[in-house]
Amino acid sequence: MRMTLATTLVMQAIGAGHRHGFDIVEVTGYPTGTVYPALRRLERDGYLRSRWEAERAAARDGRPARRYYELTASGVKALEAAVDTLQQLDAARLRVKHAR
């Protein structure tokens, strides 16, 4: 799967504990039209799995149950690889800047 910056950030947000749609939208700053298709794609490819929050827990907070996303083992690996790539890109950018 192609790891765009948006997908990487969505995964990073989930890894950091932001587990439902609008929460991820909030922290990443991307619009819902970007975040949701990214979530579908990541789930389809096995980097994420989703489950419904227990009705009782949601009722205690006075709201409907949410769909929670979490990283799978291969999701964690893919995220690490993507972050690694981004860091290398950043280092390369700095080197180029200093060379100037």
Partner: protein, 872 residues
């Protein structure tokens, strides 16, 4: 409208884009997020802005699922199509269910008997070891206990066990005495096979000998039936024949010995043999099972044991001319079933082909009627792949329904088939509809669905505009006609193959039922009694019992005469012994082995077996008189050709009266003792009063219906000894009919299959001719208007049916003649090329064609030229 309500409206509107099976969860997720969205006072429409992302989300999901969704939609459409035409659906589903059902049932049989490994530890390494008598063309003789001891030292076998089967009377507990099948086995048997009692224990090596008390293990069936499944039965002592035996275990359900001897044992007993019994090298009573040692092949094991056998044959007179043979248990267990099952499987596979061809014809006819509709769909933008998907779904739904109905039908058919096939299915094997059968059924169902879909899709309109311009009727004629005729011809050819096979089998069964068995089976009732209790230890008591029972039976009303015999013809048992003929110099290359029967004086009269010469036994041929014997014609012709054997003397080589010379007093005609299809063996009859065997069959000749004498027979035995069970009671005609149950069962299955195939073919001929007449109505109208006679139209249509059937019959006949060899091992006095049978089959098929063509031909003659032309 609040911003939240507005956002929810957007989401609801967009939800329609989401595939149906995801829609509920999708909407739930979006609703939960929107409802809990924290409002920012400065951006009151933030929630609306976020809801717009639902459109991108929905479009993404739709694009991903587009293909699957179309399939689901097509499946729903196909289901609606099936429901909308119930008569058509029922016809196709029933046709397929017929083909699939019988194939599922036969697959269950094949899987249970031929494909699945036997239920033992590493069964491919297990073998039977038999003695052979090559000089007499006998290749499976039980070994002796001495051989077992001898062979155990061979390196080719890592484990070996000895088994002997039989029947015993059990009693001595609170239950009435009962006759049960028993297998006496060594302690090594259960570990070697990898089976063990479900409760209690197996046997110990000490229990192979008389050093330890004899013990028994119950089968699950006997345990439940006789002891109500009581676990406290362990340790209880029962009487087995006249020995006390403690119950030490209960076998699990379904545990059985392999091979022809196993499968129905209700009691397993420890060998419990004395040193003298273990040293006996003359009593060939034991089946030997062994496990090949690691790294030893079957041929290596055979070579090693053959060398040993050759040495023993040279050293020991008891083993002169005796060879050995090693047979894997799988081959031994299923070899007799293989030809029958393969023929039946071939038969039902052909029926499936006929049913499939029939269903294809029906589907093509419907597709022809729907071509106009398909053309409209194409014109409205349906792609070719979508039309293919529609056709596939239509056919898959019908095939699925056929498969489900077929599985139910197959489960029923299996219940009918197993008893029909008699001993073909070894009793030790469990045969039933299980997950493997269901998987097989699902496999052929899917295959057929896809095949039909491909056939139908291959006949979609070539040109949309042409299809739209023409009527549905003419389009169909142009595209499907030739294929439909090919399918009809195929069905007729396959039906002819099946009818020929069934006809040949029927011929064999008829011939078998007319074989002269050598006695008159009419009005004979037979049953068995075994004198095993302490009361009959002495020979005179056994003789007295026999005389007493026979006297009582002959005194019963409705009994014309009564007799006893140690082994009744077609009763599944025979006893044989080595024989020496006085004055015939012993030949080291010849061992004379003759079947021995022990009879009461009026046995020949009761059975109506004609005397060839000499006299029958009389009441005076008792233990005080000279030992006498009567030989059968086969023995007389073999050993005294063109001579009179009367007054010659013979003696047996083993047994308690070995060494005593018997004078031949008569020659009796041959009796087919083993089976109707096998020639009579050589036989010697001895008077029961001189031999007093302990187990025998009583035969009663009745004045009327023999089975009505059952109660009188039991009463007569009970009057002499109330503790003796009477068992295996059957009329002689039942025994005869049971003796060729396998051939008759195969014939019945093939006949049913063939008749079904013929009926399907008849329907196909009828459908094809009817359809062709419908297409030709305008043409027939024109011909009638131009002066053609109605008779010529009638004959023309009929000729069409006869030509199609004729081509199919010719192809079928050629295939039958080519494949006849496959069937020949199952036939009796019938050649696979039997011209009479094939002629009847062809005549029957042509008659079927004429009958199937009559109604459409009459329809053709009723065409009104004016109406036909006006419609055109």
């Amino acid at each position: 409208m609040t911003p939240l309500r507005f956002a929810q409206t957007i989401v609801r509107a967009v939800a329609r884009l989401v595939p149906r099976w995801q829609r509920r969860d999708w909407q739930r997720e979006w609703d939960a997020e929107l409802q809990h969205h924290t409002f920012d006072q400065h951006q009151p429409f933030g929630v609306v802005s976020r809801s717009t992302g639902a459109l991108a989300d929905a479009v993404y999901l739709r694009s991903q699922a587009l293909q699957l969704d179309v399939l689901v939609h097509d499946a729903m459409l196909a289901w609606r199509n099936a429901v909308r035409r119930p008569a058509f659906t029922l016809l196709v589903v029933l046709t397929l269910a017929l083909g699939i059902g019988v194939n599922s049932a036969v697959f269950a049989l094949l899987d249970g008997v031929l494909l699945r490994p036997l239920p033992y530890r590493d069964p491919s390494r297990l073998v039977f070891v038999w003695h052979t008598l090559p000089s007499q063309n006998i290749f499976e003789v039980e070994a002796t206990a001495w051989d077992y001891g001898d062979w155990r030292s061979l390196r080719a076998f890592s484990e070996m066990a000895l088994v002997s089967g039989g029947a015993v009377t059990i009693g001595g507990d609170s239950e009435p005495p009962e006759r049960v099948r028993i297998s006496t086995v060594t302690a090594s048997l259960m570990p070697m096979l990898g089976i063990a009692p479900a409760i209690g224990r197996g046997f110990t090596p000490a229990e192979d000998t008389t050093d330890a008390p004899g013990v028994v293990v119950l089968s699950d069936g006997l345990w439940r039936r006789r002891y109500g499944g009581d676990p406290a039965v362990l340790g209880r002592v029962i009487q087995v024949n006249n020995e006390r035996r403690a119950i030490v275990g209960v076998m699990p359900r379904g545990a059985a010995l392999p091979g022809p001897t196993g499968g129905d044992e209700e009691l397993w007993a420890s060998a419990h043999m004395s040193a003298a019994e273990w040293a006996n090298e003359r009593s060939h009573n034991f089946v030997i099972l062994a496990r090949l040692a690691d790294g030893t092949s079957l041929s290596q094991a055979s070579a090693e044991i053959e060398i040993r056998a050759a040495r023993v044959a040279a050293e020991r007179p008891s083993h002169r001319n005796v060879g050995v043979r090693v047979i894997p248990i799988t081959e031994q267990t299923v070899k007799s079933a293989r030809p029958t099952l393969l023929v039946v499987a071939g038969g039902v596979a052909l029926l499936l082909l006929v049913a499939s061809a029939n269903a294809s014809t029906l589907l093509l006819a419907r597709a022809a009627n729907r071509q106009h509709e398909l053309a409209v769909r194409t014109a409205l933008g349906a792609t070719r792949s979508h039309l293919l998907s529609l056709a596939m779904m239509d056919c898959l739904v019908l095939a699925l329904l056929g498969g489900l109905a077929g599985l139910a039908l197959g489960s029923w058919a299996l219940g009918v088939m197993v008893p029909l096939l008699g001993n073909t299915v070894p009793k030790s094997l469990a045969v039933g509809v299980d997950a493997r059968v269901a998987l097989f059924t699902a496999g052929i169902t899917t295959l057929l669905g896809v095949l039909f879909g491909a056939i139908v899709a291959a006949h979609r309109p070539a040109s949309v505009t042409a299809s739209l311009k023409t009527t549905a009727r003419t389009t169909g004629a142009a595209t499907g006609g030739r294929l439909r005729r090919v399918l009809v011809v195929t069905q007729v050819a396959l039906a002819v193959v099946l009818l020929s096979a069934a006809g040949l089998m029927l011929n064999s069964v008829v011939k078998l039922s007319h074989v002269n068995a050598g006695f008159d089976p009419r009005r004979l009732l037979t049953f068995r009694v075994a004198l095993t209790t302490q009361n009959y230890a002495a020979a005179p008591s056994r003789v007295a019992f026999g005389a007493d029972v026979l006297q009582r039976l002959e005194g019963s009303p409705g009994v014309r005469s009564a007799a006893l015999v140690s082994a009744i013809p077609l009763g599944g048992t025979r006893g044989a012994n080595g024989v020496e003929i006085e004055g015939r110099p012993p030949n080291p290359n010849e061992t004379i082995i003759i079947d021995q029967r022990h009879i009461s004086p009026n046995y020949f009269q009761t059975m109506a077996i004609p005397m060839v010469s000499g006299r029958p036994f009389t009441a005076t041929d008792d233990s005080r008189a000279e030992p006498v014997t009567i030989v059968n014609r086969a023995m007389a012709e073999r050993y005294w050709p063109n001579q009179n054997p009367i007054d010659r003397r013979v003696r047996v080589a083993a047994g308690y009266d070995s060494g005593v010379w018997f004078r031949i007093v008569g020659v009796i005609d041959n009796v087919r003792h083993i089976s109707l299809s096998r020639e009579a063996p050589m036989e010697m009859y001895r008077p029961f009063a001189q031999t007093a065997v302990g187990g025998f069959t009583l035969v009663i000749k009745a004045d009327g219906e023999p089975s009505a004498l059952g109660a009188a027979a039991r009463t007569a035995v009970k009057a002499v000894d109330p503790n003796l069970p009477v068992y295996d009671m059957r009329t002689m005609e039942e025994r005869i009919s049971g003796s060729f149950a396998q051939t008759r069962g195969t014939m019945m299955l093939l006949l049913v299959t063939a008749v079904l195939a013929a009926l399907l073919s008849g329907v196909a001929i009828y459908g094809s001719i009817w359809y062709s007449v419908s297409q030709r109505v305008p043409e027939i109208g024109v011909r009638l208007a131009l002066g053609a006679s109605r008779a010529s139209i009638f004959l023309g249509v009929l000729r069409h049916a006869v030509v199609l059937t004729g081509i199919g019959s010719a192809l079928g006949l050629a295939a039958s003649l080519a494949a006849g060899r496959m069937l020949s091992s199952l036939l009796f006095q019938t050649a696979a090329t039997d011209p009479g049978t094939h002629a009847v089959v062809i005549a029957g098929t042509m008659t079927l064609a004429v009958v199937a063509g009559l109604v459409p031909a009459r329809r053709a003659t009723r065409v009104d030229p004016m109406t036909a032309l006006r419609n055109e």
